[in-house]
């Protein structure tokens, strides 16, 4: 392990581009704790950090790649997954992690999400769901709960949102979990598990967005959103993903929902290669 055991720094600093900290995220943003959990999970999963590549798209969560001191790629809006697909197939030894926001990976990049899950390409997706587009000022998106207010749904959102674990599980992901940034221990363990699990792993992380989402939905401070997670969360490991829909004020079912075995894209490619090269 290359981790330095110096006393005077935060233990995750060795994986951070400290010259870029403090970061651009608002006070109380959920992306920071989720990033911290990932960084600690690298050690927990005993990965070689030199072989970990982080890819992200655009938006607040897209900035994660820029703060992590590993091979990191900040790509275009919604396209982290296909970029990561190229990385993984170009060098299958890499442990590819995609950090992405809900708008990035589910709206503009939704097609890539379902197809990456279908292929069961071996990578870990950490999707930080803050229920809206934060970077552009809080517009509604495909995860905004019904009736929630946003910059583009000022009278309440009239569209049904996606239930992400259900979507991804139905598309073929072999590991699906959901946590909030309040469930730090569970989240860290879950990410570590996903990092070592072959196949497409998807972890939805609910995180506060006080500045543009909370403020419009009676949760003006990050703390209010955190407290609401505390009150509304129910841990139900193994819950059927179709039953874990989120709503504006209803219960938040968290836990590990899917953990199954299925040959990965690379396994299947190798099988095909065997047919090609062995007459």
């Amino acid at each position: 392990m290359t981790k330095m055991l110096t006393v005077d720094t935060n233990p995750v600093d060795c994986y951070l581009r400290v010259d870029r900290i403090p970061h651009i995220w608002c006070a109380g943003c959920g992306i920071g704790p989720a990033t911290g959990c990932f960084l600690r999970a690298i050690d927990r999963a005993e990965l070689n950090p030199d072989k970990v590549a982080v890819v992200s798209g655009i938006g607040c969560s897209g900035r994660v790649a820029g703060y992590i001191k590993l091979d990191s790629f900040h790509t275009t809006h919604g396209r982290a997954l296909p970029f990561a697909t190229g990385l993984k197939l170009g060098n299958p030894e890499l442990n590819v992690v995609v950090f992405s926001g809900d708008g990035d990976i589910v709206a503009i990049g939704g097609n890539h999400l379902i197809h990456s899950a279908r292929r069961n390409i071996d990578m870990t997706v950490i999707c930080i769901n803050n229920f809206n587009y934060g970077m552009t000022g809080g517009q509604m998106g495909p995860t905004t709960p019904l009736d929630a207010r946003s910059a583009t749904s000022p009278y309440g959102n009239f569209e049904y949102p996606f239930n992400l674990p259900y979507l991804v599980a139905a598309s073929g992901a072999t590991y699906v979990a959901r946590w909030t940034v309040l469930h730090l221990r569970e989240l860290e363990r879950s990410i570590a598990e996903a990092l070592t699990k072959p196949g497409f792993s998807f972890i939805e992380v609910l995180g506060p967005c006080p500045t543009v989402y909370g403020r419009r939905n009676k949760l003006p401070r990050g703390m209010d959103e955190m407290r609401s997670y505390q009150e509304r969360s129910v841990i139900r490991d193994g819950a059927d993903p179709k039953d874990v829909e989120l709503s504006l004020n209803g219960p938040i079912v968290v836990g590990k929902f899917v953990d199954i075995e299925r040959p990965t894209l690379w396994d299947c490619y190798q099988q095909m290669l065997d047919r090609v090269t062995k007459p």
Binding site: R17, R20, P49, D50, K51, A53, V55, A65, G66, I68, K69, L70, D71, S72, F73, H74, T75, T76, R79, L81, P82, F83, A84, T85, G86, L87, K88, L89, G90, N91, E93, L94, N111, H112, H115, Y269, M272, L273, V276, T277
Partner: protein, 383 residues
């Protein structure tokens, strides 16, 4: 599979297939694509050949994903390409810009068909030439090669990989349906490893590595993912460290270098074919399939005693500005037959700067020019 996996010898094959074989000979080991007429044959050939040579072929969910996948693969040190046509080319534009910004070597073959929109999917056009130059937003320089035969589909695909590796820029192979689908003799020679360029590699230890180090030259050394360099790259305007910097100064420094690395090396990049240009009064400037018609028309004109010449653009971008400027005072007119309503003719007119006439011989696509149309234009301008 043995190391010696490239095909060698004489073959009768179509341009798309020759393009795929050129890529294999150039060392391409990753292809991501999406089916589209008339470029599908490139993907089909690659899906057959790459597994034989230990490469990876993947059919992505769309052209946007294909373009991103080759960028990702290129960052692992693999030579990567995709192939598409009109509508797919439009979808790739945003991430072509990402390729330019991240300075990622890769090759994108556009087997042009008639547009706009779905247009004539199975029929020829050369309508994407300006899109090749300006298709992604923002100001940048790109390299685009135009083959005029299946043989050149093979040869120029290799050249495209070499230029992309040398200058760390996506290189476009702007073929067209006619060249892509035409079958001719293709001679595939054995490509010596020494003929193949590879991207500059970092010579420093990881702690000292800067992803966009411009101190040594305009093309910075490129690390690979997983190589221990722990670098960051971004589509945002960035400094030498690869860190985003949101200032006019950073933008100025970056864009100048991205443009200059092509602009200042244009002489080394540009490839032209000239027939009878030296004493010509009328020079036909053409490229791709149109140049084959122009070649015949120029020949006929010479037979009639007209001093005609052919300047064939093998590289359309960067444009051969200097050569046109040089010829302009010596010739009466440039004639530009192209299968669109006037694209390269604008460049010719700009460089001729009033010293010689630039005459467009347009064709809206769906077929090629009749040689007589070009010949008639030569006759008129020679008067």
């Amino acid at each position: 599979m043995s190391k010696d996996d490239a095909l060698c010898g004489e073959f009768f094959m179509n341009g798309d297939t020759a393009c795929a074989e050129g890529a294999i000979s150039a060392g391409c080991r990753f292809f991501a694509g999406y089916p589209i007429t008339p470029a599908t044959e490139v993907a089909e050939r690659m899906s057959e050949r790459l597994p034989q040579v230990g490469g990876v072929f993947i059919q992505m969910e769309d052209e946007i994903a294909s373009m991103n996948a080759i960028l990702g693969a290129s960052w692992t040190g693999v030579k990567a390409m995709t192939a598409t046509s009109g509508p797919g080319f439009s979808l790739m534009m945003e991430n072509l810009g990402l390729g330019v910004m991240l300075e990622t070597p890769c090759v994108l073959a556009n087997i042009q068909r008639a547009g706009p929109s779905t247009g004539l999917p199975t029929l020829v056009a050369q309508g994407d030439i300006m899109q090749a130059r300006w298709g992604a937003h923002g100001h940048y320089e790109i390299v685009a090669l135009v083959p005029d035969s299946p043989q050149e589909m093979f040869d120029l695909t290799i050249t495209a990989f070499n230029l992309s590796e040398q200058y760390r820029v996506p290189v476009l192979l702007m073929a067209d349906e006619a060249v892509g689908h035409m079958s001719e003799k293709v001679v595939m020679r054995r490509i010596n490893q020494k003929e193949l360029a590879s991207r500059p590699r970092p010579k420093v230890v990881p702690e000292e590595y800067l992803p966009y180090d411009s101190r040594e030259g305009l093309v910075p050394p490129m690390a690979v993912a997983g190589g221990g360099y722990r670098f960051h790259v971004t589509g945002l305007t960035h400094d030498d460290r690869g860190y985003p910097v949101m200032t006019a100064e950073a933008q100025d420094k970056l864009i100048r270098r991205l443009v200059d690395k092509i602009r200042l090396n244009a002489k080394n990049i540009i490839r032209l074919e000239e027939i009878g240009v030296d004493d010509a009064e009328v020079v036909v400037v053409s490229y791709g399939i149109s140049a084959r018609i122009a070649r015949y028309a120029v020949q006929k004109a010479r037979d009639e005693g007209i001093k005609a010449g052919l300047l064939r653009l093998i590289t359309v971008w960067p444009f051969a500005e200097d050569r046109i400027r040089e010829l302009a005072p010596k010739v009466k007119a440039f004639i530009v037959p192209e299968i669109n309503y006037g694209q390269i003719v604008r460049e010719v007119e700009r460089c001729a700067a009033g010293k010689a006439k630039a005459r467009l011989v347009p064709h809206m696509g769906g077929s090629v020019h009749l040689p007589e149309t070009v010949l008639e234009a030569i006759r008129e301008e020679a008067k």
